[in-house]
């Protein structure tokens, strides 16, 4: 993809982010931080490419290390968010 297409996606996504995040209820700001943490670990994609491709052994090991770190975040982030969200209950009397 050329730079301008990528930049277009980025700028539009910033606006989407702005409006979506303002619509998040303040009561869920801590789960919001936990889940944004988990999804920002989509950077695992870069680690996977480096780990999977031939060409440089050093890059492969850096990639694998990145995959471990990002996996801690992905599994930990989603799991702790799930745990928090399960605690939010409405009055059912």
């Amino acid at each position: 993809m050329d730079f301008i297409s990528i930049l277009s996606i980025f700028v539009l996504a910033c606006f989407v982010g702005y409006y979506v995040v303002w619509s998040v209820t303040p009561a869920l700001h801590t789960p919001l931080m936990a889940v944004t943490n988990a999804i920002s670990s989509v950077i695992i994609v870069g680690g996977l490419i480096a780990a999977a491709e031939a060409g440089s052994d050093v890059a492969k090991w850096l990639g694998l290390a990145a995959v471990v770190l990002a996996s801690v975040n992905i599994f930990g982030g989603f799991a702790v968010t799930e745990r928090m969200l399960a605690m939010y209950k409405k009055k059912d009397k």
């Binding site: 990528i6 491709e53 060409g55």
Partner: protein, 485 residues
């Protein structure tokens, strides 16, 4: 020199042309991430939102694996499994009071992962499709790479300091280096100049430049966070959240990956908005938080002026219990002190007893109650307080005039009327609860000596309708519950 680290040219055959279906899949993953945040607009839809996040992540990971060599699939599987086990174990065990340091710790991992991916892309550009016609990395790619590594490194070292401060492994008081603003600006300037030189340098000269960018970025992350005091940590955690997003976005630019760009933009905006909300709730400008120094212990005579002894009323648990039972409307204002005393479960029990007697109980949450945005809501949810009884500052502040009792537990600065009236007060301008409008105010506090984060006296202590309940928060609430039976 360092030929073993040199990008291998034979990798040029790989990468580059990502198939159209894969690009579509990354876009779909990005849409799922948007839906994940959208779900958080209400607790009812939030869990479905979280599932959408997981689906998006699975799509991104599987797409990547399918479209690349899977020669190292065993190692990759082990890496994911190892990380997954560690992540899930931490997520299960962590106490809800420790959420801020957990989030800070997780941010540091994203930052470090970004640095590693940036370096991997530098060392094996062919795998990422970054090679231009003459077998070198393009200048634009190098700028994106340099920025990604720099932001990732700042996120990492900044988050490590934030983690150490929040978990008490390091003193929360600011560490002020002489001339730190000059040093910080100098280092930031150097990072920008070196990144530009890195982009323009010939293939043989780039290694020392990217090493320098990486090292300086680690240093600046450290320098930026050490002067920031404990009270400002909610802003710092939000700010680092934002950085981790921008790091992912920069890497997305390098790889031309839409899932990473969309996510980076979402997370970056999210952290920026949360920082703004926190600053507004403390009436502090973002710049003054970054400049640091708030909550310093060594500020000299300023705060040491002798406080005049003013008369106040002290009550017992039995008095409080009697008056609570007579009330029709009670508003509870919990602060971080409540969580420190682990009084939230006892508090819920007290509210249950009152509700059984027909008293209406509501909870009022200030945005800075707790150590990170929304922290107090999670702590109350953990104590099984239903979320429809919990209200934000602007939604409940008008109700104090009709409240019979304002019950303050572990909070202080957020009810201080000096924020509204005293221009010389350090918390002047901060939005506060109008507890003085309630018929009765009960103030649970360990002793009359301690003051809030801001270190200022509170007129609420001395009002006619205020009864001070001087004790450990948990013990006092338990005694009130006992006295009501």
């Amino acid at each position: 020199m360092m030929s073993f680290l040199a990008p291998a040219a034979d990798a040029a055959a790989h990468g580059g042309g990502t198939p159209a279906w894969a690009m579509l899949a990354y876009l779909i993953a990005g849409v799922f991430f948007i839906l994940a945040l959208r779900g958080l607009s209400s607790p009812a839809t939030s869990r479905a939102g979280n599932r959408n996040g997981m689906i998006g992540m699975a799509i991104a990971v599987i797409t990547t694996l399918v479209t690349h060599d899977i020669a190292n699939i065993v190692e990759i599987g082990i890496a994911i499994f190892l990380g997954g086990i560690i992540g899930v174990t931490i997520a299960r065990k962590i106490a809800m009071t420790a959420m801020p340091e957990l989030v800070a710790g997780f941010h540091s991992l994203v930052g470090l992962a970004a640095v590693l991916v940036g370096w991997a892309a530098y060392l094996n550009p062919g795998a990422f499709g970054l090679l231009t016609g003459d077998g070198s990395i393009g200048a634009v790619s190098k700028i994106e790479m340099g920025l990604g590594i720099a932001i990732g490194a700042i996120t990492f070292s900044g988050s490590v300091i934030a983690f150490a401060k929040l978990s008490g492994k390091m003193s929360g008081s600011p560490i002020m280096l002489p001339g730190r603003h000059v040093i910080n600006l100098g280092v930031l300037g150097a990072i920008i100049v070196l990144t530009a030189l890195f982009a323009l340098a010939g293939p043989g000269d780039t290694m020392p430049l990217i090493v320098a960018v990486t090292v300086l970025a680690f240093v600046i992350g450290f320098l930026l966070i050490i002067p920031i005091g404990g009270a400002d940590m909610p802003v710092v955690v939000s700010m680092l959240n934002s950085y981790s997003g921008w790091a992912a976005a920069a890497m997305g630019f390098t790889l031309g990956n839409t899932a990473m760009i969309i996510t980076g933009a979402l997370v970056g905006s999210s952290g920026a908005i949360l920082s703004y909300i926190m600053c507004r709730a403390m009436n502090r400008s973002f710049i003054s938080v970054i400049a640091g120094g708030f909550g310093a212990d060594d500020s000299g005579g300023g705060k040491g002026e002798p406080r005049e002894q003013r008369p106040y009323k002290q009550g017992s648990a039995a008095d409080a219990a009697y008056m609570l039972e007579q009330a029709e409307r009670v508003i509870i204002i919990p602060g971080y002190g409540m969580a420190v005393a682990q009084a939230q479960h006892a508090l819920r029990e007290m509210a249950d007893v009152l509700e059984a007697k027909g008293v209406e109980v509501k909870y009022a949450i200030h945005p800075v109650a707790g150590r990170m945005p929304g922290h107090m809501n999670v702590l109350l949810a953990e104590a099984s307080v239903e979320y429809d009884k919990v209200f934000e500052l602007e939604d409940i502040n008008s109700e104090f005039a009709q409240a019979d009792v304002a019950f303050i537990i572990g909070a202080n600065d957020v009810v201080n009327p000096a924020a509204k009236t005293d221009k010389s007060s350090p918390i002047y301008g901060m939005p506060v609860f109008d507890v003085d409008k309630a018929k009765q105010v009960f103030f649970i506090k360990r002793s009359m000596g301690g003051v809030g984060y801001a270190g200022v006296d509170n007129d609420v202590f001395y009002m006619d309708q205020t009864m001070m309940l001087l004790s450990d928060a948990k013990k006092m609430v338990e005694e009130i519950v006992k006295a009501m039976d």
